[in-house]
Amino acid sequence: MPSVMIRKSDSGALLFYVAKKDMEETIATVETDTPQTWGGEVELTDGSRWYIDPISPPPIFPTTLRFKRAD
């Protein structure tokens, strides 16, 4: 369950940064992304999938959240 810092890139996409692994990837899709909730299964551009319990109201980025591996 790594701590992940989510921040917006210059282009507006969300970046998924794991400090421990020095991994920075762009988030491709988020399962639930509505004005009320944000979260669920998150897929990155490198194909890996991560899970977080949906958060409501949506968090303000940048922020650090704890994700689980989905696969």
Binding site: M5, R7, Y17, A19, D22, E24, P62, T63
Partner: protein, 494 residues
Amino acid sequence: MANLTREETLDLIAEVLEVYPEKAKKDRAKHLAVNDQSIEQSKKCITSNRKSLPGVMTVRGCAYAGSKGVVWGPIKDMIHISHGPVGCGQYSRAGRRNYYVGMTGVDTFGTMNFTSDFQEKDIVFGGDKKLAKLIDEIEQLFPLNKGISIQSECPIGLIGDDIEAVAKKKGKEIEKPIVPVRCEGFRGVSQSLGHHIANDAIRDWVIGNRDGDDSFATTPYDVAVIGDYNIGGDAWASRILLEEMGLRVVAQWSGDGTIAEMELTPKVKLNLIHCYRSMNYISRHMEEKYGIPWMEYNFFGPTKIAESLRKIAAFFDETIQANAEAVIAKYQAQYDAVIAKYRPRLEGKRVMLYVGGLRPRHVIGAYEDLGMEVVGTGYEFAHNDDYDRTIKDMAESTLLYDDVTGYEFEEFVKRIKPDLIGSGIKEKYIFQKMGIPFRQMHSWDYSGPYHGYDGFSIFARDMDMTINNPCWGKMQAPWLATEAAEEEPAQARA
């Protein structure tokens, strides 16, 4: 010599790898690649930030080097104790040329070496008492210090000393910040982890010190310069450009920097990062905690400077944007003259680079401004996000090498035959003896600054001075020269 094609470069890599045993060959092959601009993510073509192979020559440093040498060392008004045996501090003192103003030994301590000089009994009985005594001595001898950092060397972690407890106790006594940094040299694969540990120590012990204190008068144009190490005065050459734009530089971290400046950084409006590799961690933290945006900039060569100034200005209002254009216009005559003078002398020359964590990509623009071409580049301790950024800057089918070994680098150079190599002191004399012009790109070969418009003219002069030096035609003793050999250098220069 013409540039290699993709296939030729691949062949070259295969040929160089041939001498390794099977296992080493498999490992090293992952660190060498041919640049392919169509690749978005570097991890598809190159592996980085992995442990160096035992038995090969690597030029990497350790975590202590990353923390004491790079991030903490240049904070000039603090005393940095090299806690452990005497050598680590002594052999790394004052070699990095990060300039500062102040009276060394009175209110600034940049080039001095403070060490606890561990002996056998300290290893056996622990060194905490010695550390406490050392801090008292420092307070007595150098009362104008603004704080102390404790930079652990390998034995501290091995014997399990509790430097945090000593730091807390003594910090209360002397009422100054004492920062314990767990940067034992054996941590991580290179100095890169030392940067990260040092950043985390700054986050935990320094950044929050002035939370809730609003006595500092801020302006909407406050910026902090982070990760410019003021090598030969680089940060000063950068700072004047920012100030001419109408920005106020509140903090100059780790290049003529002070702890007070670091404590004020959370009050700024924008963090400007020059060395992304060593300082991105703290910038990310400040973005999350204080909502301060950060951006990477590049002040090597007029093209990149103009690009960066415009990008910085875009964070501010129209006055600043107009000022940025004015600054670029102001210096245009100056850099046009530099290009007019040196470009004809340097046009078409080919360069190979192998530096630390940012210059292998940042200086490419400056070389291109002079009509030169970078045909191979590599990092000592980069991670994959650095290579992501490099791929776009490098030309197609050029060579990329990560944590290159002494043998590989020599073989690449023999085959590619560049006109200039930019690397460090450990490579310098090997290549000079091979007859290839060489510049140290860590310490600017005791020259500098190279940042900013003022730095560019020095950069151009130095490259010309090195490449067109008459000594390269005299590599052979006159009594050994045959007629053919005499003609050859003449042809090479023509």
